[in-house]
Amino acid sequence: MKKNQFEKPHDSIKEPLVHIIKREDVPAWEAWGIRIVAVVLGMMVCALFIQGITDLNPFKVFGSMFNGALGSSSRIWQTLKDMALLLCISLGLAPSFKMRFWNVGAEGQILIGGLVSAALMIRFGNSMPSGILLMIMAGVSILAGAIWGLIPAYFKSRYNTNETLFTLMMNYVALQLVEFFVDIWDKKQSHSVGVINSSTKGGWMPYLFKQQFFLMVLIVAVLTIGMYFYLKQSKQGYEIAVVGESENTARYAGINVAKVIRRTVAISAGICGFAGFLEVSSVSHTISSLTAGGRGFTAIIVAWLGKFNPFAMTLISALLTFMSRGANQIASDFNFNKHASSILTGIILFFILGSEFFINYKLVFRKHGKEAA
């Protein structure tokens, strides 16, 4: 090494302090470790926020959060119900996302499923046995959601249109339809349908073990397991994975790509429509433009963070539901502005999403190593 015959570095040399390197083969325990650290860090920032803005004791606030989500049997059931609804929609999104079909139209699919359920309840609620009516409502809501998804899927497979914009636009169509029918069904000029069949309970999901939501939670649990096997073990799940990875490979393997796209999106949107049925039949017994309530978008986060694995998605939706219910409790306990408690949820979500960066990349600080050789 005759390094000394060369000049010393210029003063003007711009040395990047840090650069980003992609990492591979991150073991699962490390990835989950990073995520847990992120949640803890997020909680700490939340604590600082609470302390700074309100002078409240952060631990008390967290305690109230916990209390709000899991503090009593009825609160636990409320949390379970919210979680089941969110998870059901995420399960619907998972197959289309796995196929790289960006279905952001879950809101519309939920609404349309809910709308047909409500229509059936109003029309047949007092003339048909509730059990049969429930079956028909479930079937028709799945069908309605599937049609809502099939329209963009058809155009995607036939003309290669952009599904993100298309499904998004379908949300607004569904929203307008719901508002239109709400106006028609509204008998008291109150701009709402009110509780449907409140006396006969026709089309209401029955209580099981004296719990309003038991049946719904059970159905979603079964759906979770079913979706896991569908994606992992079935031939159709295999086709979805191949089409998602590369349409050329799928064609090469003899897969009818257009058919797989349509079938998968129909299943996906059908489940979202079914979620609309659950919401109407089991939870609210009414329909309004707020029936979907933004869950169709939150579910996107759940599906992604859970990497389309139904069991991981269960954990994520549990966490998100826990936080949002907890935030509501804080709002009432401490007279918080409701938006302030959403900020807490936002902070934690931000940390969870941000942690994915540290799972996929690492930062390298350049060491100006003396003698590398």
Partner: protein, 511 residues
């Protein structure tokens, strides 16, 4: 002495994740010299030079240009130091003219530029080195060789004194290669430092003054070309003795397997990718397909496999062992398989088409017959058995048969794909660029596999880029030129010059 050293690299290390692409490499590049950087695919040649061109930033080590330590963090920094690189994939804008591409991204003193001045300066550079380029021509009208010339002119225009060319001959015909070499010699005379990244031994010996050899990211040695020969270079490159002969058994009892007649394929740009192509394929022989890239090779194989729309009038007839024929045009790939016609197709884009990158070997094994049987669920046991067999028989290096194949090296990916296609016991085996990205030893493994299939009576269609290999391996060579069959030659007697000529110039076929 120091005057002539253009670049010195000292202990340069670059890692990608857990992979070390360059491990403490130290070397010199000199002015008035052509330096070849020789190494197999994956040996880190391109990565090393990319750090000089500002594409990557080294993790460790020092760079000196003209005797001064420098940091290069962007291609702009590289240009300011007079370093220019011509990448394998051209970085040109199709709808711009040559001159517009040349000045693209240059920082001028003024906000406007005078296109006449640019044209004048481009012309000066062209005259000096004998380039043939029209500054007003649009890039999409140019041939591959012209695009490459434009890349070189672009770099010279920016005043580069250190030129790095990454496998420049991969896309050129023998004639165009010779022309490029003359230009490079002219530049050397002009005092420029030229670095040629390559894995072709004959080019190294013909052109360069010194050869620097890399192996698995490490610097091995630098040899002055006059004392080098193919054997020495290969051994330094591979790290062990290798034999460089390809076996070519004579075809035994050839029978017609496939008869292609009047095949025309129109691609998405509405250009005829294949124009009235007719030929026959026989069992027990290897039919080589030669042609500069993008001359219809891909479309030809895909058309036979049922993946292309064929214009009316074309036919592909399959002859089975009993002499029965079946028409394959208009039949889907799955139906072709259900007919009992065994076409095994190794596509040129391995991970984009032949394999699913995120899946393991097991799941890739069932890509073409996953839907066998009535159960709605997958049957993994057979595939995992097959995956195990291929792994042990072909020495696939993978942590497990469930590791995503994307994580395997190019050679192993290729083995997985070829292994699966051969396991289907094909009557016809089609491969496109089967050895692309493979090192010498693994390439020979693939040649041997193809020869074994040939001996079994399989009709093999081999689309290749390396003419030397094509001529050593095939029995007949079909030359494609712009979608036309430009002659079918006997590989045992044809000359390289003749094949090269037919690759570029259409000749009237004598009966």
């Amino acid at each position: 002495m120091n005057e002539s050293i253009a670049v010195r690299m000292d202990g340069i290390t670059k890692r990608f994740g857990s992979v070390i692409a360059n491990d403490r490499v130290s070397m010199d590049i000199r002015y008035s010299e052509i330096l070849s950087i020789l190494g197999e695919n994956g040996s880190g040649k391109t990565t090393l030079m990319n750090m000089l061109a500002g594409i990557y930033y080294p993790d460790e080590g020092f760079l000196y240009v003209n005797g001064k330590e420098v940091t290069i963090t962007s291609p702009h920094d590289a240009f300011e130091l007079g370093i220019g690189m011509i990448h394998q994939h051209f970085k040109l804008i199709d709808v711009f003219t040559a001159a517009e591409n040349i000045i693209l991204g240059m920082k001028g003193e003024k906000r406007t530029y005078n296109i006449d001045e640019v044209n004048q300066k481009v012309k000066e550079i062209c005259d000096r080195y004998g380039f043939d380029i029209d500054p007003k021509m649009k890039v999409y009208e140019m041939s591959v060789a012209q695009k490459q010339t434009l890349e070189i002119v672009k770099i010279l225009y920016r005043g580069a004194n250190i030129l790095i060319l990454d496998e420049p001959t991969a896309v050129l015909t023998p004639q165009e290669t010779e022309k490029l070499f003359n230009i490079l010699r002219q530049m050397r005379k002009d005092g420029k430092a030229i670095v040629l990244i390559t894995h072709k031994l004959n080019e190294v010996l013909e052109l360069s003054d010194r050869v620097t050899i890399l192996r698995k990211g490490q610097y091995i040695t630098t040899i002055p070309t006059p004392v080098a020969n193919e054997q020495i270079l290969t051994e330094a490159m591979v790290g062990e003795k290798v034999t460089l002969d390809i076996e070519r058994p004579d075809p035994v009892n050839p029978q017609k397997r496939l008869s292609v007649k009047h095949l025309t394929v129109v691609n998405q740009e509405r250009i005829k990718a294949l124009d009235d192509v007719s030929f026959d394929v026989y069992s027990g022989e290897i039919l080589g397909v030669a042609g500069i890239s993008g001359c219809g090779q891909k479309e030809l194989l895909e058309a036979i496999a049922g993946l292309q729309n064929i214009e009316s009038g074309g036919s592909v007839e399959y002859y089975d062992k009993d002499g029965n024929t079946k028409e394959l045009v208009g039949v889907s790939p799955r139906e072709i398989r259900n007919y009992g016609v065994h076409l095994s197709f190794v596509p040129e884009d391995r991970l984009g088409m032949g394999l699913v990158g995120s899946m393991g070997m097991t799941e890739n094994m069932m890509l073409k017959d996953y839907d066998k049987g009535r159960s709605p669920f997958l049957n993994r046991s057979e595939s995992s058995k097959l995956a195990d067999e291929i792994k042990s028989e072909l020495d696939v290096v993978t942590p497990s048969i469930d590791t995503p194949v994307r994580k395997l090296s190019g050679g192993n990916v290729q083995k997985v794909l070829v292994g699966r296609e051969i396991a289907a016991e094909p009557a016809i085996l089609m491969t496109a660029y089967a050895v692309r990205g493979l090192d010498i030893n693994k390439s020979y493994t693939i040649y041997n596999l193809l020869n074994e299939q040939k001996k079994k009576g399989v009709a093999v269609i081999y689309v290749g880029e390396d003419l030397d290999v094509l001529m050593a391996l095939s029995d007949r060579i079909l030359v494609l030129c712009a979608g036309h069959v430009n002659g079918v030659l006997d590989a045992r007697t044809a000359s390289k010059e003749e094949i090269g000529l037919r690759m570029t110039n259409l000749v009237k076929e004598e009966a």
